[in-house]
């Protein structure tokens, strides 16, 4: 395997071996502490524009299986950084190596990196811009570009991963839920479609388009980048602002931030975010272990004077994990109740949303 380099904006150059697709790639370098579920992570559209570092040192052990994909478009990350990549996986799930997925999705990977040291660096300095390159000679130039290039999240990443046209799946249920697709994970769709008929909408759909389609409630999905991007303030945020009193709303992750923005709150970028499957959340006097993947968060203070209150908080750092509307059937989770990867402790929230849509809550 050929040499590959991870170049960081602070001048760090880490040499490793290449796997997956061989091309130069650029993104925000973030880490996830989840020990399994690498395929679900890599195919999660929320990672769009990011180079994902796995803190677990062995990646690819059990191969890949199509069913684990969270996006039809395959891997969504800009790059993958691992300590050890397993190219001949356990046959448990068919034995297809992770490299195939990256190759198909044209995503470069780099292995042989001391990922723990890298995680500590990111923890201390905050998320960094980085690039994966194969050509050693291009490193100085890459470094210069890294420092001058805008952050990936400066552009509207949602437009890259949202569906271009809505879809409708009739599962013969009584209730029809809409999804405002900001880069929705497949597991959210399948949690919903096991309960309801599902209609999806592109992120920039108007409130009118959504109300016209006669749905019972709307879920605002996960998605990549900055929720307060001007393009989104003009589209998704405005739409939700108009819909909040019209139908029940549930927001997941990015969707939680959109709802907070739509109802007068604000968001901020975290130092290095929450990515992993072990984040404890206090909710209704109980503790739930949740799956998370976010670099932005809702500013709790900004909700003062709005109709939203924080009803879920992160036990580790006190950040907002969920808000609820004082009067209306509107609630959000900063984490992923649909899991994949991660624990299923809070999957009951989809039932709760169903009750809201039935008008029972």
């Amino acid at each position: 395997m050929s040499s590959r380099y991870l170049v960081l904006e602070d001048g760090t150059v880490l040499k490793g071996k290449g796997f997956g697709h061989d091309r130069a790639s650029y993104g925000e370098v973030v880490f996830s502490t989840g020990m399994g579920g690498y395929q679900e992570g890599l195919t999660d559209p929320s990672f769009c524009g990011q180079i994902l570092v796995f803190s677990y040192p062995l990646i690819g052990n059990y191969g890949i299986k199509k069913e684990f994909n969270q996006s039809d478009a395959g891997a969504q990350v800009s790059g993958v950084v691992v300590s050890e990549y397993c190219d001949v996986p356990s046959p448990m799930y068919g034995g297809e190596p992770l490299g195939n997925l990256l190759e198909e999705s044209k995503v470069p990977g780099i292995s042989g990196i001391d990922t723990r040291s890298l995680v500590i660096k990111i923890r201390n300095s905050g998320t960094l811009r980085g690039a994966i390159v194969s050509d050693e000679e291009s490193i100085p130039e890459t470094l210069e570009q890294l420092r001058s290039k805008p952050l990936p999240s400066d552009s509207n990443l949602v437009s890259r991963v949202s569906c271009k046209k809505g879809t409708y799946t009739d599962s013969g249920k009584d209730i029809t839920v809409g999804i405002l697709d900001c880069g929705v994970k497949r597991s959210i769709v399948s949690e919903l479609s096991s309960r309801f008929n599902v209609r999806t909408f592109p992120f920039d759909s108007t409130a009118q388009e959504i109300t016209d389609s006669k749905i019972d409630g709307l879920l605002i999905s996960n998605g990549p980048g900055n929720p307060a991007h001007p393009d989104l303030m003009r589209t998704s945020v405005r739409t939700i602002s108009d819909l909040s009193s019209v139908m029940p709303l549930m927001g997941i992750c990015f969707g939680s931030q959109i709802i907070a923005l739509a109802l007068g709150g604000s968001t901020y970028k975290m130092k290095f975010g929450h990515r992993g499957s072990n984040q404890p959340v206090r909710f209704d006097g109980r503790v739930y272990i949740t799956s998370q993947n976010h670099g932005y968060a809702v500013d709790a203070e900004s909700l003062e004077g709005t109709d939203l209150t924080v009803n879920q908080v992160n036990l580790n750092d006190g950040t907002v994990e969920g808000v609820i509307h004082r009067d209306l059937p509107v609630f959000t989770t900063q984490y992923h109740p649909e899991s994949s990867p991660g624990p299923k402790d809070t999957v009951f929230l989809f039932d709760r949303f169903g009750k809201m849509m039935e008008g029972k809550i």
């Binding site: 020990m35 723990r116 992993g276 499957s277 503790v287 580790n316 299923k344």
Partner: protein, 1068 residues
Amino acid sequence: MKDPYKKLMVIGSGPIIIGQAAEFDFSGSQACKSIMEEGYPTVLVNSNPATIQTDIDMADSVYIEPLQADMIEKIIIKEGVDGILAGMGGQTALNLCSELAENGALERHGVKLLGTQPEAIAMSEDRELFKEAMERIGEPVPLSRSVHSIAEAKKAVEIIGRYPVLIRPAYTLGGTGGGIAYNEAELEEICARGLAYSRIHQVLIEESVLGWKEYEYEVMRDGDDNCIIICNMENLDAMGIHTGESIVCAPCLTLSDEDHQRLRTASIKVIRTLGIEGGCNVQFALDPKTKEYRLIEVNPRVSRSSALASKATGYPIARISAKIAVGYTLDEVPNKITGNTCAAFEPALDYVVVKIPRWPFDKFRTVDRHLGTQMKSTGEIMAIGRNFEEALLKGIRSLEIGVNYLEPQNFTDEELMDELEEATDRRMFAIADALRRGMRPEEIADIVKWDVFFVRKIENIINMEKRLKSEKMTDALMEEAKRMGFADSTIADLTGRKAAEVRAERKRMGIVPTYKMVDTCAAEFAAVTPYFYSTYGNGCESVPNKKNKRVVIIGGGPIRIGQGIEFDYCCVHGVMALQDAGVEAVMINNNPETVSTDFDISDRLYFEPLTLEDVLDVIEKEEADGVIVQYGGQTSVNLAVDLEKALKGSRTKILGTDPDDMDIAEDRRRFSELMNKLGIKQPESGTGYSFQEAKDIAERIGYPVLVRPSYVLGGRAMEIVYCEDELRTYVETAVKVSKNHPILIDKYLNEAIEVDVDLVADGKDVFIGGMMEHVEYAGVHSGDATMVLPPFTLSGEIIDRMKKISRDVALALKIKGLMNLQLAIKDGEVWMIEANPRSSRTVPFISKATGIPLAKVGTRVMLGESLKKQGYGSGYKEIDHFAVKASVFPFLKLVGVDSILTPEMKSTGEVMGIDKDFHTAYYKAMIAAGNKLPMSGGVYITVNDQDKPEILESARTLTDLGFTVYATKGTSTFLRKNGVNTTTVFRVSENQKPNALGLMREGKINMVINTPSMKSGARRDGYMMRRVAVELEIPFLTTANGANAAVGAIKVARGREMTVHSLKEFSE
């Protein structure tokens, strides 16, 4: 919030046995600390003196008493206990609490069980209740039936529909008595055994999931129903091999997130349904083809697996379980490792943990080495690496089995296939050899029922071996090999060089280990607790505090026969003493079960193999001021000389006795010279390089002689031989004597009394902590012997002579720190058997019995503080009570081991009986060790001629107490002549009825007194009787002293109620 209790009790797990090792000292100690810091008055009871938890200051009152329901009840009454933590002392404590609940004692005294309730315990322990509960919540369990007889068992198999079936006895430890039956004959045999072992005479006949993958989940639940998973673990061996016998890795490496979440969700459902509060272990079988799973077992308490999970993740399961038990919820308890998060989270690992069991087959060569559903291992090691290969190779060299990597084993092709097909302790070596011989990983995986993923990891290691053998060494190759976990010595072996050269070369290349932190959170938060493992990468996280003095203590490695928890006790005391003296204590060890590897014991903990390389690397990283090698048993002593050589010229000193002086004690020739100089008698001895030489020596010094190979330590393969024929057998078949492997021959002092002495010396003064007289004659390994502190038959004059000898030897060897002496007394003379310039197995026993913390005193001496300054000076600690140490043996679990006590150690653990008089202390020790001394019934006596007068008084006492005395002709004639009424029976070898075997089986003989005789018929009789006695758990006494002590104890026990005493009562 915490609940109000007046006084809480923690029950320990008793002696170390197979299936219940040091992990419960770890959990019990954590639990005590955890509730003491909440301000609850705490009582601790355990019969095992070698534990940290029985330290006098671990609880407000510490009781070393037999773990029997009546004794516990007495302590409850005496102390006014109103709450018990049942889940900290393994199956022993759980069973006791069930018994106390059933017999009404808890209700009588208003005692609550904290945490998991009796109903929950019953639901998880009783197979039928468990099955019903799981069926209610739709969790699949293997098809099964509980049965109480063999006939019912056969019916159960009909319902299941096929062999093989598993047989699991209810309420036993480590699967005792269980097995796999492939046909009806096996079913009958295993069921008979299983029914006998089960406390409620119940076994489970179960659908076989052999060959499925085995996964374990460690779950926590609090009173608010919050549930978290601490860790999941993957058994490399498929279902069919006990998880305690399997190589295990954490976290699971071959499980998709989807399947992991299915098992995680199921675990949580289970713990909620059972209503368990605290830690719990859930075991699953998963069919790798269909992904169907079955729930196999739930342990509603902390366990061996939870100890492993605690060490593997840094999450202190026992500590948090104790907090939950007193009423806290997970979010109310801070996470001590990060210091700024709480206990309600799931640890994220960023390394690979490998656990490998340590088996006693090096000691018990006659035991069947096959692995199955019954535990045979005595201990385990854990290794941490950034990749699997590294963790596995570190693990192998942590085992201390004389092999430092996957060395070729010279199996024949046939043997190799056998090893692959039927797992033994050598399985991983067989896999390596199979790969070397060109078998494909898939082929091997198919036979051994491993995921080929793991076989390929071993293949990576084999490929690296090939590269090292064939390629020119480069920086890149060296780095790759080190990253894969290859030891310098392995690289040296493969490249034909010396380990020191490889070490020097790689250091020249700048390839040195870095140390990473175990922080529960994969570096997401900055952690404050310094718990490290080595790897090869960049970014070293261990930053020694150079302002303070730093001393490294080398631990004792895995628990094995001959090296038990006692050495961990000494290490922990060493750590405490260093810290008291303001010195930073740095611990190196690899045993996940122990207190020494608890992350908040030392100032810095390194979880590492204990080889010269690994230890030196830590010392160099730490730039330590000193190293203590006296506390880790033979493991650390064996490193002393090499360490000193390697550390020459560095700032690091070996503390205490000079390694060269230690060597004098270890080297027979040098030691004999010293003894001659000091005028101390030693049994005559010689070294034989052939049978002829051995024979000449034996004839010169006279039979019987004690023989052993020169190249193994710790009493391994040591035997007493009585005649030339036996010597020939020993020399030619047992040890294969040659020029390179001579045998050592010592005069065996027949019927001598043996005494163990433990002392601390500082070069000027010698303080004797205790002298322990063995109940059995010299020739029984001191680890197995019953010992009495203080001596109970020796005269003051002999004791004075022993004091003088101890003092002379300690001063001559310039001992600074601890030393143990083994002396023998015969015909009024004191003989030197051996001197061990280190802490011994009996140090914790003496410390508990006398209240003097010998290991701490020794540590301060090593730091330069004299005995005088510490207030001890020269002297001998007199006590006015008695403490008796008795040993427990694995004969029930290891079929094929003769239960006669010999110079080769066989016991796994020990108990202490302590009371005001000898007989009561002896009685307590006996029952604590599981010897059910009968209060009535029959006693069988057959003793050799010298012993006949010795046991006369005891026989008389027994008949006075109403026992029926059975005896063979010779003994019977003698006893009758002296006025003792006996019933004469035939010798076993006479093959007529009535004989002892029949009477034992009929329940008429409840104790056997049988001292060995040289007649071969008698020896065979003895062997047969011992086997039956082990099986039926009948006390079997093989010495006149032992018999007399036992009879005295029976008399005392018959005469009055036993009382309980806390350790403080003896130290006041």
